[in-house]
Symmetry: C2
Subunit: 477 residues, 2 copies
């Protein structure tokens, strides 16, 4: 067995790992990137990028199907499944190739292929061929889909998001297991592309919301378009010639039996931590085999070990993985000193239609006695009406004492952009008064946000005694 001595060993070459490597090098230390799977990030290979390409095609299909409302008469059209999927793949491959290329262009001495396991506190064994002694180790092994029963026993017959983009054609029907962001994005897109889709979940959740009013509106909107088997129980899944026969109990207790050409399991993801032999580090692990972890330093306990990206189970989003990679890389070199970083304001978006956005403090995290809630329905919002997309609700939270914006949950047209605006002002700790001094064009979706902020201002004025004038003035002078 070969032995390598390096400054920082990084397990995993995804978004977190690549950013950690760069930070290590920037700090003047020597990184080693260890990868067991194919190069290319989860996001580019099987996550955000291909799913957004599928959503983009579905958006176009939806516009075509819906064009009559605008006086655009489409009398003959169809989805060319193979061609549609070909575009998804060719664009995805561009994104993946760019990542792979940048990884493969790294100096050979910075790369090692194989599965790494801990053989000691700072020692790794890679596939039995190399022993790596490192001053620090960054774990950036990402996450994998959870396959719950009864699907775990028929893994080769079902799809996960890794597989779906490699289909040659669209199936006629599909069961989507899970109604979180991934299930909703992919399932709604497939349905708009002509697949008969039924969603299954044992829970009553649709997406990531915690605000009861936003949840209510989300159920209203999505259940009018999608076939949702909420609070259902999956009893059996049997592969047959025509597809997979699902036996399930619906929320009223009635049993059903239906064959789907394909089943997509999108029931959440788990971090790839099980096969690292973490017990050999001597670290204290909880009953799920996880060590203590600090999101501000990315450090594991007080060890020279850092966890960045989806593996730490913190916020499984690309931009957070990227930040954590950089923090982990920097701190892995600084160790035993480590620096605390204040993390960015939380920002999550889902590319369903209407879109979903969550910013800052979520409703579930609020002390309701200290806040007010401003809201706007998109049902009659001007620009939303113009675009024929007037559905949704935005709720924005403000502190009675601070008079500032602290979070929001929303579903509505193009709220990906309102979510950014709100995340930035939340991070700025901007008061509602000041936000109302900002320019808003006409007619734009942002006017809906302003309506919600005015509503919030009125309420804060009463309860919080905030000085709030919505006037034509800009700051300063």
């Amino acid at each position: 067995m070969e032995t390598r001595n390096v400054d920082v060993a990084i397990i995993g070459s995804g978004t977190a790992g690549l950013n950690a490597r760069r930070a290590v090098e920037k700090a003047g230390a020597q990184p080693l990137l260890i990868e067991s799977g194919p190069y290319g990030t989860t996001c580019a290979r099987v996550g955000c990028m291909p799913s957004k390409l599928l959503v983009a095609a579905a958006d176009v299909a939806h516009e075509v199907a819906d064009a009559g409302r605008f006086g655009i008469e489409v009398t003959r059209w169809k989805v060319d499944g193979p061609k549609m999927l070909e575009r998804v793949r060719s664009e995805r491959d561009r994104f993946v190739d760019a990542v792979v290329e940048s990884t493969e262009s790294l100096p050979a001495e910075q790369r090692l292929v194989g599965h790494a396991r801990f053989a000691g506190p700072t020692t790794l064994e890679v596939d039995g061929h190399t022993r790596v002694n490192a001053k620090s180790i960054v774990i950036a092994t990402g996450s994998s889909p959870v396959i719950p029963p009864p699907f775990d026993s028929i893994r080769e017959h079902i799809l996960i998001n890794d597989d779906i983009f490699d289909l040659e054609d669209l199936p006629g029907s599909m069961a989507v297991i899970g109604t979180g962001i991934v299930g909703l994005e992919l399932g709604q897109a497939l349905q708009r592309l002509g697949v008969r889709v039924v969603f299954f979940t044992p829970f009553n959740d649709l997406g990531p919301f915690t605000d009861p009013e936003v949840i209510r509106v989300t159920h209203e909107i999505l259940s009018s378009e999608l076939d949702l088997q909420l609070k259902s129980e999956m009893l059996e899944a049997v592969p047959e010639n025509a597809g997979i026969r699902l036996r399930f109990r619906d929320q009223h207790g009635e049993e059903h039996d239906e064959i789907f050409e394909q089943v997509l399991v999108a029931a959440g993801r788990q971090s790839n931590i099980a096969n690292l032999d973490l017990e050999n580090t001597g670290l204290q692990l909880d009953d799920r085999g996880r060590p203590n972890w600090n999101p501000r330093t990315t450090q594991v306990a007080d060890a020279p070990i850092f966890m960045a990206g989806d593996v730490n189970g913190h916020i499984p989003l690309l931009h957070e993985a990227s930040d954590e990679g950089r923090i982990a890389g920097a701190n892995s070199v600084l160790y035993p000193e480590v620096e605390e970083h204040v993390r960015r304001t939380p920002l999550a978006i889902a590319f369903t239609d209407p879109q979903i956005g969550i910013v800052g403090k979520r409703y579930a995290e609020l002390d309701l006695d200290t806040i007010e809630i401003g809201e706007v329905s998109f049902g009659n919002q001007g620009r939303a009406r113009v675009m024929g997309r007037n559905q949704g609700l935005l709720r924005v939270y403000g502190g009675r004492k601070s008079c500032s914006i602290i979070g929001a949950e929303m579903i509505g047209p193009r709220v990906e952009h309102l979510a950014h605006l709100l995340a930035w002002v939340t991070q700025e700790r901007m008061t509602v008064a000041r936000a109302l001094q900002m320019p808003v064009y006409h007619p734009v979706i942002e006017e809906g946000l302003r309506t919600a902020l005015r509503d919030l201002a009125r309420k804060l004025k009463v309860t919080g005694k905030c000085r709030l004038e919505d006037f034509a003035t800009a700051p300063g002078n």
Copy 2:
């Protein structure tokens, strides 16, 4: 003749006038709203709203025509002109009705119908039937389209934006006179709806840009889609049975002769000031008949006269008219004291495709020795590629001394939203460093903005010695 004595007489019941009235009432004074035309604002009746409804239909038509790229095969479709225009009108009427209703529901003693002229410094005569003595007067008479020669002599044969939305069907061909925002928005939309459109301008301008690089890219993009007769000279316009015969000289000096079913004149607007008999106020007027005017107070010279909205020729945008109405209303009551208001950061958007945005200080207003320019091309921007809309350029300006964002010009996909984000951080006087600490999701158009800000940061670091770290940290603790 009847005589009325009021606190504040407001001439015009558009956006500025209505906001002025509300502000006067809020200040505890008695307003009188004088209107000579139909109720309803320019924006709702003939401006932003109906034009955005036309653009929304054109966007759908463009998606349908372009769907094949995504594997969505549309083999038969057409624009149902009458039905398309019917939606434009019915939605427009909703917006107009809401405005008219709110105006008509005002107490009768606050309204007067007729054309107002100054009969003295603070006296108005309305259609010879009423004399109004006011303590202050707010002029909010708006603007009207300019009809240049040779079209001024055949006014009844040509269209302006007021007329176009009342067409029963789309014409087969149309000449659009003017390549400003209104001409481009309407002309591009009509072309995408199947009208053969040719644009004419004696100048070389396309839209409102002043940044030479953004201008270059705009010409590249628009000239590949639109038939543009830039630097052309219109020699003659003769109404005939089949339409209007235009004789023009192109930029190479060659003469042409062509019949268009319709001609749309969108050659700018002029303020409605000529028929007010302003000379009876005793105010000093310039050679265009305009008095001195202060944008921070909306006051005319030191008189108890205020001008708000398009009439003052300042920034003819709805949100500015709204602000100016409120400032004018408040100051008309405070007079002879008046308050200076710091105006919002300039923000202008055009709903062409790609969209156009201008924020804060424009390129032409910059001292190039004190700034740096960051830029991003949307040609290879991730999300823009995903949506198949990867065209455009964003240029953002930063001060070498302040290290902060001071303005931007941009053309690109959905830049209406980037323009808001940039306008808000510009008004906040946010440093580039701080803007780079803000969260940005993936994959979003906002990542393009971040690329431009990183470019700006690099340049400011060299020339301005700005402390700029693009790191994973949020501000504060």
